[in-house]
Amino acid sequence: MPPKVILEKCDGCKAEHEPLCEQVCPGNLMTLGENKKAKCRDSRDCWDCMSCTMACPQGAIETRLPYQLGYYPARLTPLMGTNQITWTCVDINGKVERFVIKNRND
């Protein structure tokens, strides 16, 4: 499912040569579009690793979950801390679950 860029929040990483989502995407799918904001080049090739969602400093990227996992109303949102990430999972019925994963940045 394609990463969706929230255009009001994206600032194109100050239109520097490579925005953070482009730098981090393992499939080379994110790039700076014509409106100087991030866009996904080819949504069908995205394999939902969510690196772009986690890397974006403005929190401007949202990954849609594929229908086998939850489909559109369901959401998986990371909240990036200094050495842990708080994941919030909202399922298709609206039930909310949160879990904290330490990512040993120190």
């Binding site: 974006c56 401007a60 909240l79 708080t86 919030t88 120190d106």
Partner: protein, 402 residues
Amino acid sequence: MSGFGVLLCRCNGQMPNIDFERIVSVLSKDKKISSVEIMDRLCLDPVMEELASQLKASGVERLVVAACSPLFNKKLFIGNLAPVFNPHFIEIANIREQCSWLVTDHKEATEKALESIKMSLAKVRKSKNVGNWDRNCAFVLKNKCDKCKRCVTECPNQAIVLDSEGFPEPQEGKCQLCGICLGGCPLKIISLPDFRLEEISAMLEQIDYSVREPVVVSFMCERHAYLELDTLAAKGYRTKANLRTIPVPCTGAVNTSIINDAITFGADGVVLVGCNASQCKHRQGDILAKARLTNLQDTLQRMMLEPERIAYLSLSENYTEKCQLDIEKCSGCMVCSTVCPFGAIEAQTLEHNGEKRLIAARVPQACRGCGICAGYCHSAACWLPDSQDQEILGLIDRAMEW
């Protein structure tokens, strides 16, 4: 890592509602703390000299001083102890203004003071030279940097230039240690000599979030909002005990990862307290902080958390209220205009039902809030909102409590 010392100063008896014995007994049980001591009136020269010689002999390597506000005394300690103590290993816990004075209840003030000391201990424990203690400026960890150049564009003093490889290099002369680069860096790799994200995160971990009252963590800009809160505490202002304050160089220095840490650890609310719009000493600290908060509020909403949990508040400093005039009571005698030292009063004619009346109108731009006119007014027609009888009586009451 050894030798953590805690020094408690009881001032001159200005902290009557803090139970120092309890603090000493709780801290003494912690095996990592090698010495807990009460020394009174630490700011006096002879006491400071004795302290310096004691520290040299005791083997304490990292020190937490629990006393009055660091805005008063930090330079004093660092200057006096510099020959024997690394200044980066000294941390001041503000237990006078922020704990003893802001919170009335004895038990709550003591608990807040204890938590304050634990937070300072955590900060000084994590204090580490990542490479910038010899240079007094921000430091970028180049091996993790991805050259996004956000720090370069956001720095209010253009103090960051690119080196030969394209990595950002903060310049020592221009860097004002505001921390705005630190607040914006998406990879969290910038640090200031006395302010690192790991240290602040460690401080947040020490807070007990499980108390029944909602816990609010506030990040206050040191020179403005924090100073103003200290001043308000000295004037007699009181808050609830659930506010935990962390001083930051500028609200622009608060990285969203720190706010996220606070929320993850259990804080019920996070507030960034800084200057009013256009008053920020670093020009864009508050603008950047507000923009980051707006983005984060949207993320919180997507995460099914209330966006109202995080907010930006401005606490402007030293703002004196102007003199207010009650037009009905003013008799137009103009005595006030003869005594006003700033020429802030002028005669104005009021027309009412065909009757003309003279009143002594105030010129707000010239008024400095000195209150001399209010002292002279026979008709009790003017007053200073800041210095009402209530406030002055309140100050007297508090002084009598001691």
